[in-house]
């Protein structure tokens, strides 16, 4: 392993920033959700890279837990998107602003 850990961390930062821009700019709820997944994965990459750097398995276990929680989050999030779609026939995030003053 001669690739510097820092490369992986910078890659992780770039993916996280891409996911953030996606969450902030896109209107389709599904693509916003995919961008959130991208952010989660970027953080997982950073966790695994730090685990390698410190020769410690705790980082990998944390990345594993974050994958499990992401799976649960996807299930609930997609169910919410489906039920919002049934109610107002749109997946545009701007349409669901009933609680906004």
């Amino acid at each position: 392993m001669r690739t510097p850990i820092a490369y992986f961390l910078v890659l992780s930062g770039m993916l996280f920033a891409t996911g953030t821009v996606g969450v902030l700019t896109r209107r389709n709820a599904l693509i916003v959700f995919m961008s959130v997944e991208l952010q989660l994965n970027a953080v997982n990459l950073a966790l695994v890279a730090f685990s390698r750097m410190h020769a410690d398995l705790n980082g990998q276990v944390l990345a594993f837990f974050s994958m499990v929680v992401a799976a649960a989050e996807v299930v609930v999030g997609l169910a919410i998107i489906v039920s919002v779609y049934r109610r107002r026939h749109s997946v545009n995030v701007d349409d669901a602003r009933l609680l906004k003053w």
């Binding site: 392993m1 690739t3 510097p4 992986f8 993916l15 994965n41 390698r52 020769a55 799976a71 039920s83």
Partner: protein
């Protein structure tokens, strides 16, 4: 150039490129497929970082299960729907892109200051992975992290029940105002119906 460097420089641009292309896609199916490419590249990164178990989990859980679920929902909701591109906030897009670039620069500066770009031979990682990465992870997971692991199973059950409750089709709740409106309408049109 060592082999893992080559692998990194092949897959890192693909990962970033597919992530950026995902943002630019109009069609949600194309975005999902690009995200799968990105997840595979990340899986290769895990392999480079000596985490073969997470490599397998990434492909099975993310690229497999989660993205299939995404595609399933996209197909369920219809794919040919155009996206409303009007901006409700002033200059939201340029500000978002500027903030994204700021995150990249911030991470790069922090990494340079905190970790450095020097190649560092990791000491003791092979010892931590004594008889295989999966076995070593299992040892940590089922001893030190046993309670969080059990809590995770509760979380998954709750998520499954939540999905059933949220996505089931049910009769729409009728409010008292709507009932009154219907009654008033019927009363108003009573002579017309009889006549």
């Amino acid at each position: 150039m060592p082999l893992d460097n080559v692998v990194f420089w092949v897959f890192a641009p693909v990962a970033v490129g597919s992530a950026i292309a995902m943002l630019l896609m109009r069609n949600a199916v194309h975005a999902a497929l690009l995200l799968i490419v990105n997840f595979f590249c990340l899986a290769v990164m895990y392999l480079l970082l000596d985490a073969p178990f997470l490599f397998a989990v990434q492909i099975i859980v993310y690229a497999g299960a989660i993205m299939v679920l995404f595609l399933f929902v996209i197909m369920l909701l219809g794919v040919d729907r155009g996206e409303d591109l009007s901006e409700r906030l002033i200059a939201q897009r340029p500000v978002a892109i500027a903030l994204g670039l700021a995150i990249v620069i911030e991470v790069a500066v922090a990494v340079r200051a905190g970790v450095g770009f020097a190649t560092k031979a990791p000491a003791g990682f092979d010892a931590a992975n004594a008889d295989g990465n999966t076995q070593a992870l299992a040892r940590v997971l089922f001893t030190k992290y046993f309670f969080p692991f059990e809590v995770t199973s509760v979380l998954l059950i709750v998520a499954a029940i939540a999905a059933m409750v949220l996505a089931q089709r049910r009769a729409r709740a009728v409010t008292q105002a709507e009932l009154d409106a219907v009654t008033a309408h019927e009363e108003a049109s009573e002579p017309g119906v009889s006549g």
